[in-house]
């Protein structure tokens, strides 16, 4: 009974959010998330079940929030890097470095949790800065520049842990990835605070404009007096910081630092999250909240497949199909084409994702894009 009411409430809230987002770019990412949840509502028993234990909430949806935190954190850094026309492949390895640094300081060196966390964040930010120097300072292509750290980073993490898997039980460290705040997982707070920080950095200052400008047209931005190198350096540094946070959460989740496996392939999930969130890999316009929603979408997909007992060997296949579908629906030309093929469908599809036609004052374009 309680479940029934809370579900209804959930869908009313979700529906209103979706309604408010109509015409926005991230409508499609949020909509895709909604479809996925709707599927689970009907076909995955227990997915929507929420339980209160010791004043904390438990349930699949809460799991998604908690487990998805890593990808959401990564995607916040990644989205800015991608907006400048680059990509950061090293975030998974940087996660491993952060985990290694913090647990070594905590366990082997007997430092306080605060010092361990701070050191891990400083080191991962430096790792991001290293990428920034390679890309902005030396002009190395982002894929190559970050590939260096992607490959070497795990080696560095192995050196730090001396090849061991370090286990820890320090309550502060364990709290990071397993604790609760306001009845919800603490990781959610972490994501929201980081989102707030990113939002402040790029939307309350002019950095966001510069990032989009550099990503859209590097040369013209330089002509306009934008310090493109500085902008690029900053986004890679921030991406390193976000990877550090994600690394701390990851090792806290499993109460140990495993340099070989922490953050493995998560850079790919983060890139996907950004793309699902509506940001183009070519750079330019970016969508911070879209990236977070993209992260949620990917985690929901993973959890759904897991809940439906899809073997982990074949789960990448349905995952890939779903992601392709979301990306296609974000493309206006695909929707237009689809609406030609499926007439009645088209009437619903067309107005949703595209902005309402603007009133034209003077109607003279040389070649207006339809």
């Amino acid at each position: 009974m309680i479940d029934w009411v809370s579900d209804l409430l959930f869908w009313i809230v979700f529906g209103s959010i979706l309604f408010l987002l109509r015409g926005q770019r991230i409508f499609w990412s949020v909509g895709a998330l909604g479809l996925l949840l709707l599927f689970n509502q009907f076909f995955t028993p227990g997915f929507f079940h929420i339980q209160i234990l010791d004043g904390h909430l438990y349930g699949s949806r809460i799991d998604v929030l908690n487990q998805g935190a890593k990808v959401m954190l990564l995607s916040l850094g990644m989205v800015l890097v991608i907006a400048t026309g680059g990509v950061d492949l090293s975030v998974g390895a940087v996660m491993a470095i952060a985990a290694a640094v913090s647990s070594r300081l905590l366990v082997t060196e007997h430092q306080s949790a605060g010092a361990a966390i701070a050191a891990a964040l400083v080191i991962s930010t430096l790792a991001g800065a290293w990428n920034g120097v390679l890309v902005a300072g030396f002009g190395i292509q982002p894929i190559v520049a970050t590939l260096v750290l992607m490959v070497a980073g795990r080696g560095v993490a192995q050196l730090i842990t001396e090849g061991q898997i370090i286990n820890f039980l320090d309550p502060t460290m364990v709290y990071l990835g397993n604790g609760h705040l306001f009845a919800l997982p603490f990781t959610l707070t972490l994501v929201l605070v980081t989102l707030g920080l990113a939002f402040f950095l790029v939307r309350r200052t002019a950095l966001g404009l510069f990032i989009e400008s550099v990503g859209d047209n590097d040369e013209a931005s330089r002509y306009s007096g934008i310090n493109a190198k500085q902008v690029k350096f900053l986004v890679y540094t921030f991406s390193g910081f976000c990877a550090g946070l994600a690394g701390l959460v990851a090792c806290s989740n499993i109460k140990s630092a495993d340099a070989n496996n922490i953050g493995l392939y998560l850079e790919l999930d983060a890139i996907l999250a950004v793309v699902v969130g509506g940001t183009s890999l070519q750079g330019g316009r970016f969508y911070l909240i879209g990236a977070v929603v993209g992260g949620l979408f990917i985690q929901t997909l993973t959890t759904t497949l897991y809940a439906r007992n899809v073997s982990s060997d074949i789960s990448p296949v349905p995952k890939a199909l779903a992601i392709i579908a979301v990306c296609l629906f974000q493309s206006e030309s695909f929707r237009t084409r689809l609406s030609h093929v499926v007439r009645p469908f088209g009437r619903i599809l067309k107005p949703l994702g595209s902005r309402p036609p603007q009133k034209s004052i003077t109607a003279t374009h040389d070649s207006p894009k339809p």
């Binding site: 013209a220 306009s224 007096g225 330019g284 070649s367 207006p368």
Partner: protein
């Protein structure tokens, strides 16, 4: 009309909020060069795009050799014999000439490409234009002019009946244009129909037989070139009466005495190896200095050195008597220098950002990221320049990519005016924009001058340089040839200076 090659009747095409073509008629015969004229946004490009199947039409009928056609893609149009060469060379720089000509229809044998056949076919296509090139060399090793001809050769290789040239001359210099025209005349004799789109009035009169004028998506009329006075053509294009146009044309810069003020900028022996020989230049407040010369004579290089895009390796620059050294545009902007670059697309507009963002960009960049202009300040600024420069855009939130060339140029002007510069370097500010916008840009330059700005004006169109400048510096082969002052400035003296080989002043 027995000989009619292509006939278009009542062609209509609308875009959301815009009627780009409104029942347009058009006809071209075999062996005819037909110019399509109109301001930016008049519908020329749309007409071509509908004709070649890039856009679907809303209404109307097209007949090619009396058969109704409705191509749905440029490829289909090519198959029917309608080939198009666009303003920007749409070839692939890293492939060879032969590959470029045969790309997409390469002769194969059992799926393997027959390289020798390709080379042969390419050579034959080039021979039609009396060109003999090494077809195995990379395309990018040839000049833009040659590349343009190669693009035409590619278009003709498809056994074309109708060739459409959309602004083929905008990146060519005088002699190259001559060369191109020679080839076009030859093609005309062979019975090809050619539709020619350009902004250069001179060229239209030089090459075309008929002129069709479009305005705001409608056909104004079709005229025999020889019977249409130039002033009438302009008046048809911009929709103003002849006497109004004359007033615009004759407005020459007032020859007010240049103030005896100290130069705002002085360059001594400024140069860079391989790009510009050492040159002296000074510009005073309230003065427009013209920079004339052929394409590649060092005009753009001069601008880039002054603006800090390229670093000079010799010479000094002083601004208000203070020695300065720029190693980036950022540094130059700090001293009140602004530059609208020659290549709007590459170095000017940020295509996917809005008009508002494009306008505030330079000012915001000079303020740094912490002192962000609030949304209301940005909107105010954008609205101010949209109004002051009469930028035609549905709203300030329109992406710049969707504006016409002239309006993009105005957005760039707005971007720099917002920074309140002391020296404005305008590199080809009127290239590729229509007559109306041109006049507006010229008016703007004069009003900036009167406000005490120093302006360095670079243009390929000599009459413009003559009309605008108080002094003209002529460049040839990356070297300053002569500096013409008031009274000496005329198209003839400039051309003479360009043509004369010695460094002495030509007799005026």
């Amino acid at each position: 009309m027995a000989n009619s090659l292509l006939e278009i009747a009542g062609l209509t095409k609308g875009f959301p909020g815009v009627k780009a073509l409104d029942a347009v008629d058009f006809a071209i015969q075999r062996g005819e060069i037909h110019a399509l004229m109109g301001e930016n946004g008049a519908g020329k490009s749309t007409l071509i795009k509908v004709l070649t199947g890039v856009f679907p039409r809303d209404a109307g009928e097209t007949r090619l050799e009396d058969k109704i056609i409705a191509p749905r893609s440029p490829r289909e149009a090519e198959g029917l014999g309608i080939s198009t060469v666009y303003q920007e060379v749409n070839l692939i720089p890293h492939l060879s000439v032969a590959e470029n000509i045969c790309l997409g229809r390469q002769p194969t044998w059992l799926g393997a490409i027959r390289w020798r056949a390709i080379a042969k076919r390419a050579a034959a296509a080039l021979a039609r234009l009396d060109l003999s090139l090494d077809v195995n060399r990379q395309l990018s090793s040839y000049s833009i002019a040659i590349q343009q001809l190669i693009a035409i050769a590619r278009a003709l290789d498809i056994s074309a009946k109708l060739l459409i040239l959309d602004e083929p001359t905008s990146s060519l210099d005088r002699t190259e244009v001559e060369e191109l025209f020679k080839k076009l005349r030859k093609l005309r004799e062979s019975g090809l129909g050619i539709i020619f789109i350009t902004h250069f009035l001179d060229q239209v009169y030089e090459i075309s037989d008929l002129i069709t004028v479009l305005r705001n998506g409608r056909r104004v009329g079709c005229f025999a070139t020889q019977e249409l006075p130039r002033i009438k053509l302009v008046s048809h294009m911009i929709g103003k009466a002849v006497h109004q146009v004359e007033a615009l044309e004759q407005k020459r810069a007032s020859t007010a005495s240049i103030r005896s003020e100290a130069p705002m900028l002085e360059a001594h022996g400024l140069g860079r190896k391989g790009s510009l020989r050492p040159l002296d230049l000074d510009i005073r407040p309230g003065e427009v200095v013209g920079l004339a010369g052929l394409l590649g004579s060092g005009r753009t290089e001069t601008a880039k050195l002054l603006f800090g895009v390229d670093r000079p390796d010799q010479g000094t620059v002083r601004i208000n008597r203070q020695a300065v050294r720029f190693n980036s545009p950022r540094a130059a902007i700090r001293y009140g220098i602004a530059l609208t670059p020659e290549d709007r697309k590459v170095a000017g507009i940020i295509p996917n950002l809005t008009v508002r963002e494009n306008i505030v960009l330079a000012l915001q960049a000079s303020r740094g990221s912490w002192q962000r202009l609030s949304v209301t300040e940005q909107a105010k600024l954008a609205d101010r320049f949209i109004q002051a420069l009469a930028i035609k855009t549905p709203s300030r939130e329109q992406t710049v990519r969707n504006l016409s060339g002239g309006n993009q140029q105005k957005v760039l002007l707005g971007r720099w005016l917002a920074t309140e510069p002391k020296l404005f370097i305008l590199d080809e500010p009127t290239r590729g924009i229509d007559v109306g916008a041109k006049a507006e840009v010229e008016k703007l330059i004069q009003s900036l001058r009167q406000d005490g700005l120093a302006v360095l004006f670079i243009s390929s169109e000599l009459e413009e340089v003559v009309r605008q400048s108080q002094r003209v510096v002529v460049l040839r082969d990356r070297r300053k040839v002569v500096e013409l002052t008031e009274g000496e400035i005329s198209e003839e003296t400039i051309m003479q200076s360009i043509a004369t080989h010695n460094l002495e002043r030509p007799a005026a």
